[in-house]
């Protein structure tokens, strides 16, 4: 029985949120870390932002992201990467949350960057089930997979804020009517799966065992195939979605051109960075007439296989425990490293299953079973 609160009565609930720069907030620029959207001012709030505002959150600002949130930790941002005192890359949104500059952050999880950022800082990030949080107002990149998630200093707080932004929205045709539960319960009897192919998570396994969970090792043999397929889908959609930044309507336009082709070529050459450009080239190749069947269509089949494999796995387990990344810190990013690291983030990305990342690990659960991943995460945050 929620009490009815009129707009005028809504005052801050004391919580502040930063919003990463791939998500639109009226009155604040939205660059997606790209020169292509330099000075772009959105005309409306993202649905998730509108819901935060309606629930008394104060949007304290925007956080830098890598160009279109495609990279490891923001290193490809046109506006400069965020690094810590040791010169290591750090996600801007999670750094602000970790430093207490905001209580939580909304981040668009396109290629796993917010999960990596949380795992490498003292924060938690939850990427919810695909379709449970509206993507209305998220700058589109990989529409079939990306989701707005929440970064916070505690699992409980992330879960709480996710509850505020989640729920059906008719402005997003992929939104589902079913809702997930974000309660943190007892980890006693939780069935946890770990994969041989992805390495051991000793500390996390011990902590979960101590809390009464049962850990089983098994095989996730399709890990590498999933990564390859993910890159095909990722690049194809990046190629498609970034085409609209053509210098005609808004954003950056090259100062010199003699015809429309040059306007396109010059504007896009002068704005997009090497990571985005590489993905666009690869994406336009996999979608081409000659390669569609052997690349794109095959990737869609692997996506289906990944879905079936994980669905079967979750008929026996509650949570899939795996690393969030392979190294404890990154000084520099590269395309090759990005590809390598997506071995860990691709399974949840390609299937749209929910995942919680913290303290170096990731916990994937079945669709709408966020509560299982949150429960396991709550055990880890107290121990590791």
């Amino acid at each position: 029985m929620a009490e009815y609160i009129t707009q005028a009565e809504i005052i801050s609930n004391g919580r502040t949120a930063v919003v990463d720069d791939t998500i639109l907030v009226t009155g604040m620029p939205a660059t997606a870390g790209s020169k292509a959207l330099e000075n772009f001012k959105p005309l409306f709030d993202a649905e998730a932002v509108a819901r935060l505002k309606a629930n008394g959150y104060v949007i304290s600002g925007k956080a830098n992201v890598g160009e279109f949130a495609l990279d490891i930790l923001g290193e490809t941002s046109y506006y400069g990467a965020v690094t810590d005192a040791d010169g290591c890359l750090a996600g801007a949104a999670s750094s602000l949350v970790a430093a207490g500059k905001a209580d939580c952050a909304l981040c668009l999880d396109v290629n796993g960057a917010p999960r990596r950022a949380a795992a490498l800082s003292e924060t938690v990030f939850i990427k919810p089930t695909y379709g449970t949080v509206s993507r209305h107002g998220a700058i589109p990149c990989v529409c079939s997979a990306e989701q707005i998630g929440v970064a916070a200093r505690s699992v409980a707080h992330a879960a709480d804020t996710l509850g505020v932004i989640a729920g059906f929205d008719q402005k997003d045709g992929t939104c589902i009517h079913e809702s997930a539960c974000y309660h943190i319960t007892n980890a006693e009897g939780l069935r946890v799966f770990t994969a041989d192919e992805l390495g051991s998570q000793k500390k996390a396994e011990d902590a979960l065992t101590a809390a009464g969970a049962r850990i089983r090792r098994g095989s996730f043999a399709i890990a590498e195939a999933v990564r390859s397929a993910w890159h095909v889908l990722l690049c194809a959609e990046v190629c498609n979605n970034l085409s609209r930044y053509d210098g005609v309507k808004y954003g950056y336009r090259a100062p010199v051109y003699t015809n429309i082709d040059e306007l396109y070529t010059n504007s896009r050459s002068q704005t997009l960075g090497i990571t985005a450009k590489s993905m666009i080239l690869y994406g336009s190749d996999v979608l081409s007439k000659d390669r569609y069947t052997q690349c794109y269509e095959k990737a869609l089949r692997i996506r289906r296989l990944a879905h079936e494999t994980l669905t079967k796995l979750f008929s026996e387990y509650d949570v899939f425990l795996l690393p969030a990344c392979s190294v404890p810190s990154y000084k520099n990013g590269s395309l090759e490293l990005l590809y390598r690291e997506s071995l860990f983030t691709a399974p949840a990305s390609i299937t749209g299953f929910p995942a919680v990342a913290l303290r170096g690990v990731q916990l994937i659960a079945a669709p709408l079973m966020e509560t299982k991943a949150l429960t396991a995460a709550a055990v880890l945050e107290g121990v590791i």
Partner: protein
């Protein structure tokens, strides 16, 4: 050696929805430039497409009227290409699984009725419009038309002549209008046509070269273009005037010739892939039934009904059903007058003539069926003559004038006072003694001149039957010389 012309058509029809296909902007024409635009149809990031279900209803209606199979799962795909009038740099269309397949349209040609296959119908969004300013050398974009819903109706290459193409397009357009699917107006571009044409020696199995003519927007231009293009192909094959290549050609109607636009071999690869933002939609039995139960009577059935019920000729019925507005008017007026044949004649010879003179589209004719019926009755009852009736129809068409008021104000009521008429006839016979003697002397045609003179003297109000009778009487009574 005889040649066979092979033609397939791709017709784009703008759907008669109130809003666009993926956003709630108005899709009506006539708005000031860039007024029917929102962040979604202007390609701003962050907006997601949400399907307007009315679009699916109309596409299904079209499929049923064109005897197609309706796919039970609907999906959309992205077609990638750069053009300034395409704000997202991709068009949402149906590439992999069009909503309708395998239909046909029956057409009547001079020789025999023919069945023209429909390969598929798919839904897609329109692009915007570029406006080139030759004074400043700049180009401006108007996004009012972006994301306006279209269906593309792709025929099989079953058409064999410009005449068949015209018959097909007439019938297709009528069906689109009967179904409330599209306004389908050539002049405003709410229907437009790509023509694929090739020529081969009759009976030969040789591979022919196909050219495509894009965005034709008038029936007469399409006919001329087909004549020109087929002649060009035949001359190339028979006399080697040029080497034909597969290409897209434009049509210059002013010059009366086609010209090369781009080669098909180097045409863009559109990189189609399924649009992940639009979830597949399942069409269930109830949906099919709902659309089926609302289908209109087709022009074909209507024409058949007119032939049966009113004993009208087939060509007349075809003309009456060519536009639902006309067919509705015919039925209403025929019912009120009880004179279907006269009604058909008034519509086909008089109403169409006025429409041609005023360049009014038949679909836009809106005159009161009561007043039109009254006019036909007045003429049938000899209250006014046919010529006066035509004038009254002019006034009714252009100004909505009541024919009774018009007849009264202009003193057109037929004069039935025979005393008056006898006097006039006698006067005319006196004034035109030379014509009378011509007539009596055997020049039969001279009689018409006398009738005309009498009618003029009666200011068009003479009842022709009575005038003729009195005239014959008066001539018979003339003293012989």
């Amino acid at each position: 050696m005889a040649f066979e012309i092979v033609i397939g058509l791709e017709v784009h029809a703008e759907l008669a929805t109130r809003s666009k296909i993926f956003c709630s902007c108005s899709s009506e024409r006539g708005a000031e430039q860039n007024r029917s635009v929102c962040p979604a149809c202007a390609g701003m990031p962050g907006m997601l497409p949400v399907i307007n279900r009315k679009v699916i209803d109309l596409a299904m209606t079209a499929g049923m009227l064109l005897n197609c199979q309706i796919n039970r799962v609907i999906s959309f795909d992205k077609k990638n290409y750069y053009y300034p009038d395409l704000p997202n740099a991709y068009q949402i269309t149906q590439w992999f699984s069009p909503i309708c397949r395998d239909g046909f349209i029956n057409i009547d040609t001079q020789d025999e009725p023919r069945k023209i296959g429909i390969k598929q119908i798919h839904m897609e969004e329109d692009a915007g419009k570029l406006i080139h300013d030759s004074v400043t050398g700049t180009s401006l974009v108007d996004f009012n038309r972006t994301s306006v819903p279209l269906i593309e109706i792709v025929s099989q290459p079953d058409l064999r002549s410009a005449g068949e193409v015209t018959a097909y397009l007439h019938r297709l357009r009528a069906l689109l209008r009967y179904g409330g699917i599209s306004q389908a107006r050539w002049e405003e571009g709410s229907i437009r046509c790509d023509v694929n044409i090739s020529v081969r020696r009759e009976g030969a199995d040789e591979k022919s070269v196909r050219t495509e003519m894009k965005n034709m927007n008038s029936l007469s231009a399409i006919e001329r273009a087909i004549e020109y293009e087929s002649t060009r192909h035949i001359e190339a094959i028979e006399y080697g005037t040029e080497r034909l290549i597969q290409e897209t050609r434009g049509w210059d109607d002013a010059q009366g010739c086609s010209f090369s636009m781009r080669h098909k071999e180097t045409a863009a690869d559109y990189r189609y892939f399924p649009d992940p933002n639009l979830m597949p939609i399942r069409i269930d039995e109830n949906w099919i039934k709902r659309i089926q139960s609302a289908l209109p009577e087709t022009p074909e059935l209507r024409a058949g009904r007119y032939i049966q019920a009113y004993a009208l000729s087939k060509p007349d019925c075809e003309l009456l059903v060519s536009s639902p507005a006309i067919a509705d008017l015919f039925e209403a007026v025929a019912e009120k007058t009880g004179l279907p044949r006269e009604t058909a004649a008034w519509i086909i010879s008089d109403l169409f003539r006025i429409a041609r003179r005023l360049k009014t589209n038949l679909d836009d004719i809106s005159i009161s069926s009561e007043k039109f019926a009254d006019l036909i009755i007045m003429v049938a009852n000899n209250e006014i003559n046919r010529a006066a009736g035509r004038k009254a129809l002019d006034m009714l068409f252009e100004h909505g004038t009541d024919p009774r008021d018009f007849a009264r104000d202009n003193n057109l009521a037929i004069n039935k006072d025979t005393g008056d008429m006898e006097q006039v006839v006698r006067q005319i016979l006196r004034d035109h003694a030379d014509i009378v003697s011509d007539y009596v002397g055997g020049r039969v045609k001279a009689r018409q001149a006398l009738v005309g003179a009498v009618m003029r003297a009666l200011k068009g109000k003479g009842d022709p039957a009575i005038v003729n009778h009195i005239l014959d009487d008066a001539i018979a009574k003339l003293p012989s010389e």
